[in-house]
């Protein structure tokens, strides 16, 4: 490709500017978090005496261990179950294709663009009638259902792209459907399954609306829901709020940085297919 030097320099400058705009807000709340609790700092300004203990203070006030524990429990309830259900259904719709598979598929597509606010009101009464309001099940069970459209369509697309010849060859060799599924399709689907797991993990961790409507106790919520409650309680103490927000962000950021390649490709594919 013919590219002039000037073009490359402009490209680099733009990249750096965009990265700065992305990172500066984080830098700003980090610096603010080091100011004296209860004070009202201005913009980005390094404090004379950094109050590192604010992080410990926020850690205690936010009850971070319980929050982390609660989020992990919710993740464990949602992600494995949702991935399993979607994989089974995806295999049924994408590979076995019984009569009516197409219609079922269309029904799942209908749920793809659904805004959660659209069903939150009746969902509240439904969860109340089930007697699980204010428990973690109130987040776990609806989330599994709400993830099904995306997850099933994702897994169906995966199984539909696995070459037919492979399955036919296995059938000729006398493989049962179970063998076909477990020995051939699942090993070939590991990338799709792990990407799906990452996406569902992220969406569960960041789920806010279900958490604030269906669970009153912040200690039973997701991380994002707990953050909302933390803001309500410490909204006036800016340094402490910033320290708490950073603490609550840290686990997501660590997971993201560790799996960044996988994350980016999963999110890109996710939005392309969604």
């Amino acid at each position: 490709m013919i590219v002039s030097r000037r073009e490359k320099i402009i490209g680099r400058v733009i990249l750096v500017v965009l990265m700065l705009v992305t990172v500066l807000p984080f830098a700003s709340i980090f610096v603010t978090a080091l100011h004296e609790p209860g004070s009202y700092p201005r913009g980005i300004e390094w404090p004379e005496a950094p109050h590192w203990e604010n992080f410990a203070l926020a850690f205690q006030s936010a009850d971070m261990f319980r929050l982390l524990g609660s989020s992990v429990l919710i993740e464990l309830g949602v992600v494995p179950a949702a991935v399993l259900l979607a994989t089974l259904a995806g295999f049924g719709l994408g590979h076995l294709r019984p009569p009516g598979a197409r219609a079922l598929f269309v029904v799942f597509i209908l749920g793809l663009t659904l805004p959660f606010e659209g069903i939150i009101t009746p969902l509240y009464f439904q969860i109340r009638d089930l007697g699980i309001l204010n428990t973690r099940w109130a987040i776990i069970l609806p989330l599994i259902g709400l993830f099904m459209p995306f997850a099933v369509i994702w897994m169906r697309a995966n199984f539909a792209t696995i070459p037919k010849e492979l399955s036919e060859a296995a059938r000729v060799d006398g493989a049962t459907t179970w063998h076909l599924f477990w020995r051939i399709h699942i090993p070939l689907s590991v990338p799709a399954i792990s990407s799906l797991a990452i996406l569902l993990f992220l969406w569960t961790w960041n789920q806010f609306l279900l958490a604030i409507v269906l669970v009153a106790d912040p200690a039973q919520r997701t991380m994002a829901g707990a953050l909302g409650a933390f803001q309500g309680r410490y909204g006036t103490d800016i340094p402490l709020l910033c320290a708490g927000s950073l603490l609550i962000l840290t686990p997501t950021l660590i997971v993201f940085l560790v799996f960044q390649r996988k994350f980016v490709s999963a999110l890109l594919q996710g939005s392309l297919k969604g």
Binding site: G11, T22, I44, L93, L112, G145, S167, F208
Partner: protein, 320 residues
């Protein structure tokens, strides 16, 4: 939404009967029926969860929307009154209009910035700096929207980073509490949305641009096409699908916005940043107007579909 594999439904294809050597008719039929039963059994758990926690609430929403109900006492039939309220009360109509204005900031601005920047970055897309940028620009997509809202509430406050930068540039006159001002609250919320969405759009569109055949550009340059011409006749058509995805995802995020606004402004000042999601939440859980909340939910779902379906046709459909 897209239907990846658009093969016609051919019953039994890939099923047991086809791949086996021809067996006596009855046995094959029984086997095929068994296969179908298994397939339905595999789909059933996912379908049940979906039906119970998504389809049932949608039906219930539609049902509630025709009643006047406070969630406790007996509901009374209200006909289309709730829908009339949603589409005529200034406060409720205002929320819908705000959501449409947010499309400008959540969708058009990020896609515009992403197209412009990606076009300039294209030539260095494989560099180390670009790889680092891909990671950094993705961070806003990964953190909870609530966190983005909290972080930016502070940046946009009267002593925040935004005003600090403006003062440094000598623009003291325009500084203000951006989220507390009737005129600027909605655009300020929009800035938060733009900050969240730009990275995703940029990375997506850049990935699309690097897939465009480089020889097209060489040919264009030999023919004497300028950068503008090049952009409109090669780059833009080449990333059409990526643009469609970005627009769809971000438009839904604008119409269904909730988290950012809940923490940044709670809909205020006045109703200047009230959006449908927040209004439904207030109606249902504070004002106890379950009927109106449900009618608004149905309207919101219909709006999303009414906007997304034509977008899909417009941006994808005429490709083939």
């Amino acid at each position: 939404m897209p239907t990846p594999a658009s093969t016609a439904p051919t019953p039994g294809l890939g099923g047991a009967a086809r791949s086996r050597p021809p067996a006596p008719g009855r046995r094959a039929r029984r086997r095929r029926a068994g296969g179908h039963l298994l397939a339905y059994a595999l789909v059933a758990p996912a379908a049940l969860f979906y039906a119970f926690f998504v389809l049932r609430p949608i039906v219930a929403s539609a049902q509630y929307s025709f009643y006047d109900w406070n969630g406790v006492t007996t509901a009374t039939w209200a006909g289309f009154d709730n829908y009339v309220a949603v589409l005529s009360e200034p406060k409720l109509v205002g929320a819908i209009l705000n959501a449409f204005e947010l499309i400008l900031y959540f969708s058009i601005v990020p896609v515009g910035i992403a197209l412009f920047a990606a076009n300039l970055i294209r030539s260095i897309a494989a560099s180390r700096l670009a790889a680092a940028a891909r990671t950094v620009l993705f961070i806003p997509q990964v953190i909870p929207l609530v966190a983005a809202g909290i972080i930016w509430s502070w940046q946009l406050s009267s002593d925040g980073l935004v005003n600090q930068v403006l003062r440094a540039a000598g623009l003291d006159a325009v500084t203000r509490a951006w989220l507390g001002d009737f005129d600027t609250a909605l655009p300020a919320v929009g800035v938060i949305g733009a900050w969240v969405q730009t990275g995703l759009c940029l990375v997506l569109i850049l990935a699309g641009m690097t897939r465009i055949d480089a020889s097209l550009y060489e040919a264009a340059r030999i023919d004497g096409a300028g950068p503008v011409r090049e952009f409109f006749s090669i780059t833009l058509p080449g990333v059409r699908q990526e643009i469609a995805v970005c627009v769809t995802v971000t438009v839904i995020s604008a119409l269904a916005s909730f988290d950012i606004i809940y923490v940044a402004t709670q809909g205020g000042p006045g109703d200047s940043t009230l959006v449908p999601g927040l209004q439904i939440f207030y109606l249902a859980f504070f004002e106890r107007e379950i009927g109106t909340a449900s009618a608004f939910s149905i309207v919101l779902m219909a709006l999303v579909i009414a906007v997304v379906l034509p977008l899909q046709r417009l941006l994808r459909g005429s490709e083939s």
